[in-house]
Symmetry: C2
Subunit: 344 residues, 2 copies
C-alpha cells in the first residue's frame, strides 16, 4: 500500500510500504477513507532531524474495518470507525479515569511497527479499546466533522474542560489554527459567555466568529494583552485556552488570565521552562491541560456532530488525494491552507 | 508600642514604633495576644536587601479588639479575633469567589502604613472582612492551634484543596516545615489514604507521622523519587503538596506525581522559570496552588480546631516574648526550632 513518510524538514514523501496485517489477536486492519494533516505535524515538518528511514505520519483517520483479530469483540468487517490520535485498551486504570493518553497498553500512530494515518490502511492495536463506530455511511456529508473527533475538536474540548469552562465563563482562545477554532466551538458548546479569539488571519478568525467567538483580537504580545484587558474591564478572563504551544503564547496566556483563573494548554509546548514563579503563585493561577484523551471525549461529542449542532469539520479548507499530501504539508506550513483533508 | 523590624539579612530588631490608631472608619485596633514567626519570614531573613528604615514583620496573630471604627459592624471592644495573613474586605467579587488574597481592597501586613503582626498591637484595615471572632478566652489552651489558622494550617489546607485531595487519595507532601506538617494534617482530614512525607528532620517527621503521614521518605532528589515510586507501585501519587518553594522541590514534585495528577504549590517559589514542558504536557499534570486565602478557610477549619479533632498548634515547639523575637528568627533559620510562638 501507499503511505506518507517524513525524511527531514520539508521532506515528505508518499511511498509504497508493507500492507498492514493482523499481528495481535486484539488488532483489526482498517482501510482508511478519510485522513488529514495536523498542525502538530508541522513541528517535525519544520525541525525533524534528517531520517535515514522515513517516519510514518498521520494520527487522525476514519476508515472501514477489513480484517478482525480473534479476540476483538465489538467490531466487525465493514464497520465504519473513527480513531483517536492515541490508541489505548480503554480498560486500564488510566483509561477508566478518562486519561487514555496514558494507557498502560497504548501508544501513538507511526512509531515502531504501528502504521500512520496518512496512508491507505492501518493496523489498529487494541482495536476494541481504540475505535469508535460511526452510524453513517463512509461517504456521508458529515465526514469532515466526524474526522475532527480524532484530534482537533476533541483537543479543543479538552482545553475547555481542563480550564473549567462552563455557563457564563469568560474565555480567551490563543491561536486561530484548527485547534484554536475548535476550542472556540467547544467553549461555546459548554456555555461560555465571552469568547475572545486571539488570531491574526482574517479568514480563520471569521470562521472563529461563526464558531462563537464574541470578539477577535488581531494582535500579539503586549497589544493583545492590552486589548483583552480592555474587553474585560481590566481584569482578564477566567479561562485561557492556549492552542499554539510557543513560549510567547504561554506568556500571553499568563498576562490575560485573572487571579484564580486557568491557563489550559493543548498546543504541544515547544519549550521546557517557562514562568511559573511568584506572579503565577500570587494570583493562584492553574496551569492545566495537556495531550487530549480524545477517546474519552468522542462518545460525548459524537451526538452533537451527528445532529449538526456543531460543525467542527468547517476547519477543513482543502481536500487532496494521497499523492498530494506533500503539497498539503507545504500549504499548511505556508498558511495557505488551514487544515487539509486527505481522501486516500 | 514595640514591634519587630527587619533591616537586612539576619538583622531583626524589636523597637519602639508609633502606637496604632484608627485611620479609616472600617479599621479596628487589636492588642496582640499571640503571634509567631513564619517559615516565609526566613526568605527575607536570608536575602532581604539592607533597609535604611526597617520593614515591619509578622502576618499571623490573635488579639483583642481595643478600638472600633465607626463603620465596623461585626466587632466590639473586647472581642478575641484571629487574623488571616492577608487582610481583605470579604465582599468584592474575588473574596466572594473565595480568593481573598486577590481582594480588590485588601493587602498585606507590614508594608506602607499597615502594622506587622510581630508587635504589641495592630491597626486592622477592613476589619469586618478580615477578622474572625474566636469563642474562647484569650489564654485558652487552644491558642497555638487557633493561631495556625492565620497561615500555616490554612495554607496546608489550601495545598490539599487545590490538589483535589479527597477520600482515598495518594498524596506526597514535600517539606517537613510547619506548612508541610499542616499539609499532612489537612490531607488526612480530607480523607487521603496514603500520605508520604518527604523530609529529613526526624523530630519533624515524627510529628508528621502523628499528624497522619503513612510513610516518611527521609531523602531528597533522585533517592526521594525512587523511594516514592517504590511506595506507590512505580506510579507516583495523585497529589503532590509542595511546601518548600525551591526549584529542586518543584522538580521532585514533577517526578513523583502520576499522569493526570496535581502538583499543588504553597511554598513561595524562589524561582521564576521551571519545567512546564513536554514531560508535564504529555502527562496532563496540573500545576495549581498559590498564596492561600486563609480567610476563606478559617470558618471551615475552626470547628475542628475548637473540638480538638485536629491539633495543628503542635507545630510550635518554642515560645518567646517580644524581646526574644530576633532569637526566634535565628533558631528557626538554624533549624533549632520548627515554629516559634510569640507572647508579646
Amino acid at each position: 500500500m501507499r503511505a506518507t513518510l517524513m525524511y527531514g524538514p520539508g521532506d515528505v514523501r508518499v511511498e509504497e510500504v508493507a500492507d498492514p496485517r493482523l499481528r495481535e489477536a486484539t488488532d483489526v486492519v482498517v482501510r482508511i477513507t478519510r485522513s488529514c494533516v495536523c498542525g502538530s505535524d508541522l513541528w517535525p515538518y519544520q525541525k525533524i532531524p534528517v531520517q535515514e528511514r522515513g517516519v510514518r505520519m498521520g494520527h487522525e483517520f476514519i476508515g472501514v474495518v477489513e480484517e478482525v483479530g480473534g479476540e476483538v469483540a465489538t467490531l466487525r468487517r465493514g464497520d465504519l470507525v473513527v480513531a483517536p490520535f492515541v490508541w489505548s485498551d480503554n480498560t486500564c486504570d488510566y483509561c477508566k479515569a478518562g486519561l487514555q493518553t496514558s494507557c498502560r497498553n497504548g501508544g501513538g500512530w507511526g512509531p515502531g511497527d504501528v502504521d500512520g494515518g496518512q496512508g491507505e490502511a492501518v493496523r489498529v492495536p487494541q482495536a476494541d479499546g481504540t475505535l469508535v463506530k460511526l452510524p453513517v455511511g463512509e461517504d456521508d456529508a458529515l465526514m469532515p466533522s466526524l474526522l475532527t473527533l480524532s484530534d482537533v475538536f476533541s483537543t479543543g474540548h479538552h482545553a475547555a474542560v481542563c480550564a473549567g469552562v462552563r455557563k457564563g465563563s469568560s474565555v480567551a482562545v490563543i491561536g486561530d489554527g484548527a485547534v484554536g477554532l475548535c476550542a472556540v466551538l467547544a467553549a461555546r458548546r459548554l456555555g461560555a459567555e465571552q469568547i475572545l479569539l486571539l488570531g491574526r488571519h482574517t479568514s480563520r478568525t471569521d470562521l472563529g466568529r461563526e464558531f462563537g467567538a464574541t470578539e477577535v483580537v488581531a494582535a500579539r504580545g503586549e497589544q493583545a494583552v492590552a486589548a483583552v484587558r480592555d474587553l474585560t474591564g481590566g481584569d482578564g478572563v477566567t479561562c485561557v485556552l492556549e492552542c499554539v504551544g510557543t513560549k510567547a503564547a504561554f506568556d500571553t496566556a499568563l498576562d490575560v488570565v485573572k487571579p484564580g483563573g486557568s491557563v489550559s494548554r493543548v498546543g504541544v509546548p515547544q519549550y521546557s521552562e517557562a514562568n511559573v514563579g511568584p506572579s503565577v503563585f500570587r494570583r493562584n493561577l492553574r496551569i492545566v491541560g495537556g495531550i487530549a484523551p480524545a477517546r474519552q471525549y468522542i462518545p460525548e461529542l459524537l451526538p452533537d456532530v451527528l445532529s449538526g449542532a456543531v460543525e467542527p469539520g468547517r476547519v477543513f479548507d482543502r481536500t487532496v488525494g494521497l499523492d498530494e499530501v506533500p503539497d498539503a504539508y507545504r500549504a499548511m506550513n505556508d498558511r495557505q491552507a488551514l487544515k487539509v483533508l486527505i481522501r486516500p
